[in-house]
């Protein structure tokens, strides 16, 4: 029963969402809106599951003083402090929550993202070698696109941004389209397999 009931629920709702797309009757629309409301409600509970899981995992590492437990302590403290101030003083203008967000969280996250530039440059220096014709071609394309996407490219020659645009709009887009079509077909076939109960891996192990 533990496996049969979820498969039946999945089939009913999957088939309903499929059929209602073509049925604009008010009963169908109303039921559709109710399903959408429930999707959001269920998702909020999954967030809660995530928070509980994070607290449990962090608490375990802290109490056992496992390697890197200090980071877990800081993470957990951050979570608790933000939640307390969020509920206590609100999240609007001139609140401690927003102050912490603007002065701690946002700069830290931006810094992490910015570090990518340094690592990309270092990795490009070490890894971007014209070891073969294919690698040489990739290198040439990368250089054209890198220069063509900044004003310096057009400053050197209009040929660079024009070529960069051609690369993005023709070969790159052709590859992307192929990928998207493949993803779309894969999504349809996997969805049908799930709705019909053929694909059951989402239920976990027996």
């Amino acid at each position: 029963m533990q496996r049969i009931i979820p498969i039946i629920v999945c089939f009913i709702f999957g088939a309903f969402m499929l059929v209602q797309f073509f049925v604009p009757h008010r009963v169908s629309v109303s039921a559709y809106q109710t399903v959408l409301d429930w999707m959001q409600i269920i998702f909020v509970f999954t967030l809660l599951v995530g928070v509980i899981s994070y607290v449990k995992l962090s608490s375990k590492k802290i109490t056992r003083t496992q390697s890197g437990w200090g980071y877990n302590l800081i993470g957990l403290a951050g979570l608790v402090v933000m939640v307390i101030f969020g509920f206590w003083k609100g999240t609007g203008e001139r609140t401690p929550f927003l102050w912490m967000f603007n002065t701690i969280q946002a700069p830290m996250q931006s810094t992490m993202f910015s570090l990518l530039a340094f690592f990309v440059a270092s990795a490009a220096y070490r890894g971007f070698r014209a070891r073969s014709w294919e690698a040489g071609l990739l290198l040439l394309v990368a250089v054209i696109v890198m220069l063509g996407r900044v004003p310096l490219g057009s400053f050197i020659s209009h040929w660079i941004p024009d070529s960069a645009n051609w690369i993005l709009n023709t070969p790159s887009m052709a590859a992307k389209r192929g990928l998207y079509i493949g993803i779309g077909l894969g999504t349809i076939s996997t969805s049908l397999r799930i709705i019909l109960g053929i694909e059951r891996t989402y239920l976990g192990k027996k």
């Binding site: 809106q33 530039a117 270092s122 310096l152």
Partner: protein, 276 residues
């Protein structure tokens, strides 16, 4: 060989120096950015636009200039702007930016713009708004019922919205295309980080997106069209020089590689490796 530390110093200098000493390289406006600008420019005063802050704090330096330029254009044109967030961190960022930009143009909350706040589960929120916005957001970010907000009185769903723009750092614009554009057919554009921009070119070509702003360059181009310099144009010199430095570093890496390969070929004449 260049050491890792030297590469880091070169990159840091290539970003920092142009931010202090202005070079002023000319920037060309691309078609995809011009299309976004024209789509807003063609709207009549009082038309409704929707802007969704679908990004995290990590990409703030890149997405904020784009969002600011678009918001400035909207308020300059006296459009009615509905804003929301489909990623939690976009809520605080979007609300602050909206407030700052609205103050620049003396726009009034509830009459000229509204901030609906955050909703999780983007797919159901996007689909739900296609049926009825009030059902997904019964209240705005300040817990005011949408029924009490004058601007929202005649707005039911995407039918009343002339253009939707997703300011994103991930693939949420694809979700907008999949669930809003495919089903309800609103006009849609996105402002996204440069690294994600290429992913959306197929949607531009198919007409599912009317235009696209890609990273700081997109912001700089929009600022040129708007004739209002901002953070985008300021950052373009830094981006130009840092790109050039990375290209030079790659070229130097290859020069060293080929010199070493040549030396090793001379040392072992039986090698049959063919250099590029």
């Amino acid at each position: 060989m260049l050491s890792r530390q030297l590469i880091f110093v070169l990159i840091a200098l290539s970003v920092a120096i142009p931010l202090v000493i202005k070079i002023g390289l000319p920037n060309q406006v691309t078609t995809e950015v011009r299309n976004v600008y024209e789509s807003i420019e063609q709207l009549d005063s009082g038309s409704v636009m929707m802007i969704s802050f679908d990004h995290e704090a990590s990409s703030l330096p890149e997405v904020k200039p784009m969002a600011q330029a678009i918001l400035r254009h909207c308020f300059q044109k006296k459009l009615k702007v509905i804003t929301l967030a489909l990623m939690a961190e976009g809520t605080a960022i979007g609300e602050q930016l909206l407030r700052e930009t609205a103050n620049e143009y003396q726009a009034n909350y509830g009459e000229d713009y509204v901030f609906l706040g955050y909703r999780p589960q983007a797919q159901s929120a996007i689909l739900g708004m296609g049926e009825e916005i009030k059902r997904v957001f019964p209240q705005d970010y300040n817990n005011t019922s949408l029924d009490r907000i004058p601007m929202m009185k005649d707005i039911k769903n995407y039918n009343e919205v002339k253009l939707i723009i997703s300011v994103a750092d991930g693939d949420l614009p694809v979700t907008w295309v999949d669930y809003a554009v495919s089903r309800y057919h609103p006009k849609f554009a996105c402002a996204t980080t440069a690294v994600m921009a290429t992913s959306f070119y197929p949607f531009l070509s198919s007409g599912q997106m009317v235009g696209l702003l890609g990273g700081l360059k997109g912001a700089a181009e929009y600022e040129i069209l708007l004739e209002k310099p901002g953070m985008g144009q300021k950052g373009m010199d830094a981006q130009s020089v840092s790109h050039l430095v990375i290209v030079l570093i790659i070229v130097w890496g290859n020069v060293v590689y080929f010199l070493r390969r040549k030396t090793s070929t001379v040392d072992s004449p039986r090698s049959t490796a063919k250099p590029l």
